[in-house]
Amino acid sequence: MEPLELPPNWEALITGYVLSDLTPEEAALVKQYLETYPELACEVESLQATLALFPLSLPKAKPSEGLRSQILEAAQKDLSSTVKTQQTPVSPSPSLPLSPFSPKPWLKIAGLAAVGLITSLGFFNYRLNQKLATAETDLSNYRLQTELSQTQQELSRYQEALSVLKQPNNRLLALKSITPDISSSGSLVIAPNSEAAILTLKKLPNLPEDKVYRLWAFVDGKKVKCAKFNPDSQGKVLQKIPLQKWGSTTEVFVTIEPKDGFELPVGETVMKGSRAI
């Protein structure tokens, strides 16, 4: 097939394309040119950027003083609904010196996020303790005894997670969804001192029965299997994972895999996580 030749007026055409003033036929032609001559994309991008900077010539106008704090407050609310980051005196341990070999700002963020997790889990811990105390008031009741046992199990799970999160030298990997239809997020705190990691996720959709989520880590360029998990009915995950050879990883990802699983990921990647900074 003959390669599509660029017409002499190609510059006018791509400018029109950026300005959306082409006829449908012309627009289709430009798309073909872009496919045939990928270098034209730079021209398009440059024109789009020019157009995007165009409003910088507008006369100065300032928004009201309060807008900044209004935006930050709204963002803070988002943050609070995800993980409570305010430093409440639940634990005296948030100083978290973390990794001794890289004194970088992400450590502060990781520390803050870990404090948030501790705070958040501490709150659960408190609630479960309350629930436990209530359940203990009437042990004769079978239903309550069952609830007591379940609550004790749940409590010990949170307490276990809390003790891991309070360890020094912890590292945080923030996890984010990479598919537009899932808004899940969370974190993986690697606690080398406890030889464990705590995975916390939220807004994770439930899967069909034959599927599970799997966490993988990149170690020396290889994908290493870490754990499989499923969210609870509210889409939340809280899981302690034993640290194996992947404790030094700086990049992890989550895929949807068949329940029986394989040694390497075959399913769709839905979340990715890397060291906070």
Binding site: E11, L19, Q48, L56, P63
Partner: protein, 203 residues
């Protein structure tokens, strides 16, 4: 304008100034933002808040609506940004999103679905504009204003009508009572000339 100069200094990664978000590079700020650092959002607002507001105000012509949109833009950026620092400058992304959403609001308001939403196909993917990293937004604004002054008045006029009012070429034709071909030629030539003048910024 409360705009910080964000000169890129890779060597200061280890220094204390790194803790101050106003000195961070865009990439550092964006990474901090993704990690849930509110001060990064504050720093990004300090750099680009006014530019976003100015554009919102120009299109929506109402201060409270412009502030509302400015908040929407920064919260959207905070919540789930599809921005990729490797694919273009943050200001280009923010202004493209602002214009797109402002025109959407205009559309909703006027219920005239005929209004074209131009330049929304994709966020410009160019990158590596060194000058953009070296000068403050205030300086970029001056460069753009100066470049615009060099464009013939009639070209400026049609560009502004298309960009800020979201008017189609035929609507501009009707309003100015000039042939469609002339409108097209003027907008295209205006944009091409602007691009030539801002070459150092956008290429």
């Amino acid at each position: 304008m409360n705009v910080a100069t964000h000169t890129q200094k890779p060597s200061r990664l280890e220094s204390e100034s790194d803790m101050n978000p106003s000195n961070q590079t865009e990439v550092e700020l964006f990474q901090a933002l993704q990690a849930g650092d509110l001060s990064a959002l504050g720093a990004i607002y300090d750099r680009y808040g006014e530019a976003v507001y100015r554009l919102a105000l120009r299109i929506l012509k109402d201060t409270s609506e412009a502030e509302d949109l400015t908040q929407e833009i920064f919260l959207a950026f905070w919540r789930s940004s599809k921005y990729d620092p490797n694919r273009g400058k943050m200001i280009v992304y923010l202004l493209t999103m602002t214009r797109s959403r402002a025109i959407n609001r205009l559309n909703q308001k006027s219920s005239q679905q005929k209004l074209l939403q131009r330049c929304q196909r994709s966020i410009p993917t160019h990158s590596e504009s060194n000058l953009m990293e070296k000068v403050s937004l205030g300086e970029v604004s001056q460069l753009v204003s100066k470049a615009l002054e060099e464009i013939p008045e009639n070209q400026q006029q049609v560009l502004k009508m298309a960009y800020y009012e979201g008017l189609s070429q035929s609507e501009i034709t009707e309003q100015l009572n000039i042939p469609l071909g002339t409108v097209k030629t003027r907008t295209r030539q205006g944009l091409l000339k602007l691009r030539k003048l801002l070459k150092d910024l956008v290429d």
